[in-house]
């Protein structure tokens, strides 16, 4: 009986990571599903390490930009973009936003931009994943009354290199984030206008 129990336990331990891979975006899956169920249009772009390696092959030029972009892309573990469009305002709540934010309230993640415009109902969060003083990921959450955009980049990132990603999947706004976050606090209020993250461009 004990052996059977140990076998079942072992099987459960082994299958758990496989089941966890159902949601490629390292976000809490229920939140993702809830948002997707309420949105009128959902766009998900998932570029895993394999796909990024493939994309890097396209940058085989010898010029500085191509070399820098290839190096940046090859080092990344994944780029995830989620865009939820809603028919009318109020179809997602601040509770949903807070759930997403709470997921990143760990010592590894450092908020670098947190902006909220009560008048327009727009908010922007930019967080960096720091491990041993090195940036290992980035999370951007841009919320508008009828639109919610999430961008997550995992892997070693240098803010000054983010602009190199502008040609990938409508991530043009990231170059602006890189420029903004290297500045001082005054740059935060400009970041909102610059975050034009439109994953639809990847299609």
């Amino acid at each position: 009986m004990g052996r059977i129990f140990m076998f079942i336990l072992g099987a459960a331990v082994l299958t758990t990571p496989a089941l966890a891979q159902n949601s490629p975006l390292p976000l809490p899956a229920p939140v993702e599903k809830e948002l997707a169920a309420r949105a009128s249009n959902v766009t998900e772009v998932t570029l895993g390490k394999n796909m990024l390696g493939f994309a890097a092959k396209f940058m085989n030029g010898d010029n500085k930009n191509d070399v820098a972009t290839r190096r940046l892309i090859e080092g990344l573990d994944g780029i995830y973009v989620r865009e939820y469009e809603f028919e009318k305002p109020g179809e997602y709540s601040m509770v949903d936003i807070n759930k997403l934010r709470q997921y990143f309230e760990t010592p590894e993640w450092t908020p670098i931009v947190h902006e909220r415009d009560l008048k327009s109902g727009e908010s922007t969060d930019v967080m960096m994943k720091m491990i041993n003083g090195e940036s290992r990921g980035m999370f951007v959450l841009s919320a508008e009354p009828k639109e919610l955009s999430i961008v997550m980049i995992l892997g070693p990132i240098r803010m000054d290199e983010l602009g190199q990603l502008k040609g990938l999947g409508g991530l043009g706004g990231l170059g602006q984030v890189g420029n903004s976050s290297s500045g001082n606090e005054k740059s935060k209020d400009r970041t909102r206008e610059k975050l034009s993250l439109k994953p639809g461009g990847a299609k």
Partner: protein, 160 residues
Amino acid sequence: MRWLWIPLCGAALVIPVLVLAGQGRGFDGVVGSIQSQYHTRATCIPLMGIVSLIARGATQGGVGDLHVAEFEHFSGPVDGDAMNRIVEKKLGRGWEQMVRESSRNGKQLTLIFSRPDGRRMGLFIVDFDGHGLDVVQVSVDPDHLNDTIWRYKHHRRESD
């Protein structure tokens, strides 16, 4: 002599089973599942094998292994989750979802899956626009495609 019949009979039984099992996966598997799920038939595109060969030759190996299935007058609605499950199940391991765009009213759906295949990359696309549904599988060689893109860019710069 009697012992020879046993493996022969075994092979005769196993080979058709394997062939039938193979038909239920990949591109044919997805198309077959869509046909049975939505009670529709894909429009037959004649000489698709030759078209694929010509595409491979014309692009110097850049694009190959082309499969296309077109479902005309396919009004839907299409359940994005259900379609995603069909594609994931029938494509099997190795394929990763790259893009998924869906509308809640089931009138629009785009799924793009990719699979690295040595130096090449397999792409599997399902696109539904509210009137018709297209299923495309293609294998691309990034190096060849990059050369072609570079040539076009170079030509454009020269003409500018």
